[in-house]
Symmetry: C2
Subunit: 235 residues, 2 copies
Amino acid sequence: MNAVVKPLYELVKNHVLGRIRSGELKPGARVESEYELVRALKVSRMTANRALRELVQSGVLARVPGSGTFVADLRSAAHPLQIRNIAAEIQGRGHVHRARVMLKELVKCPAEIARLLGLSDGLAFHSLIVHHENEAPLQVEERFVNPFVAPDYMSVDFTRTTPHEYLMAVAPLERVEHVVRAMAPNPTVASLLQLELSEPVLLIERTTWSQELPASFACLYHAGSRFELRGVFSI
Amino acid sequence: MNAVVKPLYELVKNHVLGRIRSGELKPGARVESEYELVRALKVSRMTANRALRELVQSGVLARVPGSGTFVADLRSAAHPLQIRNIAAEIQGRGHVHRARVMLKELVKCPAEIARLLGLSDGLAFHSLIVHHENEAPLQVEERFVNPFVAPDYMSVDFTRTTPHEYLMAVAPLERVEHVVRAMAPNPTVASLLQLELSEPVLLIERTTWSQELPASFACLYHAGSRFELRGVFSI
DNA sequence: GGAGTTAAGCTGTATATACAGCCCACGAGG
DNA sequence: CCTCGTGGGCTGTATATACAGCTTAACTCC
């Protein structure tokens, strides 16, 4: 086994990261300029620039044109979490994913959702699907879909393709907005997730846009005791 | 007002993004190679390379050395969410943040937490703080801190600095792990958040590492009806 | 016809060079 | 003493060039 040759810009990044990790450089402290790195580490300025630029993008550093590069103030930095496709997540755990389609219909949707989807007549496709992991219900997915964006929504077999997958294939995704909150389930959701009404539920609201239009609004309900979101952030 | 001159690599990114947004390029489709972009858009290869590299980093494209560049399969892409500092978030809304320190002590902590923090004797600092937004309780923060990482923890005034801020200042943060879930509150948390026991709570568990050591483990409890996490993802 | 070789095309990295624009400190001149 | 200008240092962007390593397809030779 040969030692893996690391790219030079990675070495430059680690040089800076090491001084931050060790505590030598605290938030707000000044980092070497590109030219100083060129002289100290015998690299080209483009290499130093790439290293620093990538550290800015990951939130470790902040740069002020004309002034210098500084360790970012992590107090206000946001730590990322990730929301993944439910079917992919279940399959990634090596388990079996199964979807039960409870409803698939064209309805006049609530005024607030019609407004959100930009529907003048309020008519939208509506689906209610329960996603199972090894036969245990994990997620209830209630979705309203803009018929102008996905006119064939009613003819899709959602036991084979998730609505999210279908929408992405038929209309290129442009923007996704998520809201996560804890709530008590309504009787329908509780029964579909096989929960008591007192058991809390983790709700993810997902709104998607495609080609400048609101494409769909989904409520993803999960049993609090069986579902969690995880995220790791490393500098 | 002059029109803002966009960098060339942004124009190249938009050229590619436009073809994806319009639906012309679907997931898996091949994108122009760097040399094709050089010829088509009259830019240098480094500029095309930067544009494509940044689109890879944002998850829009995937590159295969020796083969080509392709539109990423968004079905498996993860959408980012962000967890922010509570005091910064409240102040960002223009509201008043106030912290009530309920406990600040050295305790023998539960075995599982001792193991998590790598404490052989199980002795850790323990604090319980309620964060208020305009005098309404928003978050209960229970935290166990490794005394070897932050020996002065007990002498800090947490009505002026949040524990998270203090820990970041005293020991450079290296890694943060978050777990988000919905749960029913225990009586202590319910009373501190002024909730009924039946009202669900959004719990964020945060574990931090500093200089190769586990530094702290925190449980952040929020009233489900007053707190939510938000995230936007755009291509 | 099949197997092995070769060439073209691709990404990934690295360098030297150039110019624009911003910031700050220093110094000259009022 | 205060103000204005200037120069040095910094980031940001852009180009031309080079080489390594990988993949794929075509082509040659058996």
